[in-house]
Amino acid sequence: MIVVQTLIAALSLGSLYAVLALGLALVASIMRLVNFAHGELIMGAAYAMAFSFAFGPAAMIAAALVVGVVLALASDQIGFRALRSADSTTLFISSFAISFLLQNTASALFGSTSRTVPALPALSQPITIGEISFPMLDIVIIATAAVLLGGLTLLLKKTRTGLRMRAAAEDFRVARTLGVRANRVIALGFGLSGLFAAFAAVIVVAQSGVVSPTMGSDLVLIAFIACVLGGLGSLPGAVVGGFVLGVLTVVLQAYLPVELKYYRDAFAFGAVIILLVWRPQGLLPSATAGTRV
């Protein structure tokens, strides 16, 4: 019974990590940019949920989606569009600047301390099947991630827009010479990234019931590690990296001796290092993780 409960918890955390990592990878695959402001997109969407709580869960989710996507598109317009021809280091620094700007803006507007968002009561209910009991939230998280991954796969595989995104992700310069519009594809990548950030915010707020200006920092770090583990710039890699990291974390939490549980993350990241020594390019690397836009 413990094994099944652990498996559900592992899939749930893996799903969250996959959603986090995909949000980061969508931009990285096209622009070869690790957008460290992605955590602040999640934070912004989480605050939107906090302020729309009085209007019910649907309004909270809608507010998160709008704020996540708008912040993502705005960060591209303000922080990256003027730097299209700059090198990766410049973009990287710009992403940190946007991250700090959004964090400090949130601190100035909403205070630097955490704010409680009452958990969605329906999701707090446990589900009991025989001797197995697990939170409904875990199932909702797994289902949400499945729908997001399925939707993204359909978009990329079955639409012409998706085809152009995949072509741009593989070789942006050549794609542009074949008529793929750079700014449109990049904006779409950022928009989708914001959408994934918003869903990550919904999951995190539903789990923790807390928002704070710095809540995105740890989340973007997890997303980054999952992306590197899967192969930076690879969308399937981000999903695999997210699930491997999530499953690893839950399994260690369940089976480490009590006196070592405190060091769970050290063990998890130690395992990530070993995996990267074995496969430095990641578990499912991008076919052409070379030139940037």
């Binding site: 593989e170 794609a175 542009r176 519009r181």
Partner: protein, 247 residues
């Protein structure tokens, strides 16, 4: 159709193309030949909008295309086959052919265009739904040319289309270029296989160290001592004379 005048391109402070002027008339094949590092690919990059020149003008059908970006250059009817093929390896052959289709082109018409592309390059038909990474070098080159043609361009920029190919496939590529001219496509061909390119082209330009040092039609060029010095065995022993070469 295409007029380049006094084109200068620099990478940092290093000049790659210096004062290059050339023109291409409709329905011509014009060859741009020269040794490695002569600046030929940089000219193509400037033409297709990937590189912004320091100075000079590029007029296509009477309008300047400098600085408008590769997407806009493509939308004006200029298609590029880049050096090294650069097919999308993770996409299928069919998907590669669909990438240049205009967004607004109906699916059925896009399908017809893919079919037309395959008729010219029948070997691709066998791999339509296979990943492009499975293709051989010659097949990749054919896919790169087919991909550039599905949008029905008026001007095709071909950058080193025979590089790394076996002699039989080189023959095929040159035959295809010949057929393109017969179909009314204008071609600017960049080649290291200079003798063969000059024989095929209506007119040719020879580049060296970023400059055009010779130009003319095949009879003009093949008979000149300078061209012979560069391409028929004398290049290593005698520097190229530049007097009176390029306009």
């Amino acid at each position: 159709m295409l007029d380049i005048s006094q084109l200068w391109v620099e990478y940092g402070k290093i000049p790659a193309v210096r004062d290059v002027s050339l023109h291409v008339e409709a329905n011509e094949i014009v060859a741009l030949v020269g040794p490695n590092g002569a600046g030929k690919t940089t000219v193509i990059s400037a033409l297709c909008g990937l590189v912004t020149p320091r100075s000079g003008s590029i007029q296509y059908r009477g309008r300047s295309i400098v600085g408008i970006g590769p997407e806009r250059v493509f939308s004006l009817g200029v298609s590029t086959v880049p050096e090294g093929r650069h097919i999308f390896e993770t996409l299928t052959v069919r998907e590669n052919l669909l990438v240049p289709m205009a967004r607004e082109r109906p699916r059925r018409k896009a399908k017809d265009d893919v079919q037309a592309g395959i008729e010219r390059f029948p070997v691709l038909g066998r791999f339509l739904d296979s990943p492009a990474s499975l293709l051989s070098g010659g097949q990749r080159q054919q896919l790169a040319i087919a991909r550039a043609l599905v949008s029905r361009p008026d001007l095709l920029l071909l950058d080193e289309p025979t590089l790394g190919l076996d002699p039989l496939t080189i023959d095929t590529v040159f035959r295809i270029i010949q057929e393109l001219r017969d179909d009314g496509v204008t071609v600017l061909l960049v080649e290291q296989n200079a003798t063969r390119a000059v024989q095929l082209a209506d007119r040719s330009y020879v580049m060296s160290s970023g400059e055009i040092v010779l130009d003319g039609d095949r009879d003009d060029l093949v008979g000149t001592a300078d061209f012979a010095a560069m391409y028929l065995g004398g290049a290593a022993t005698r520097p190229l004379a530049t007097e009176g070469a390029a306009e």
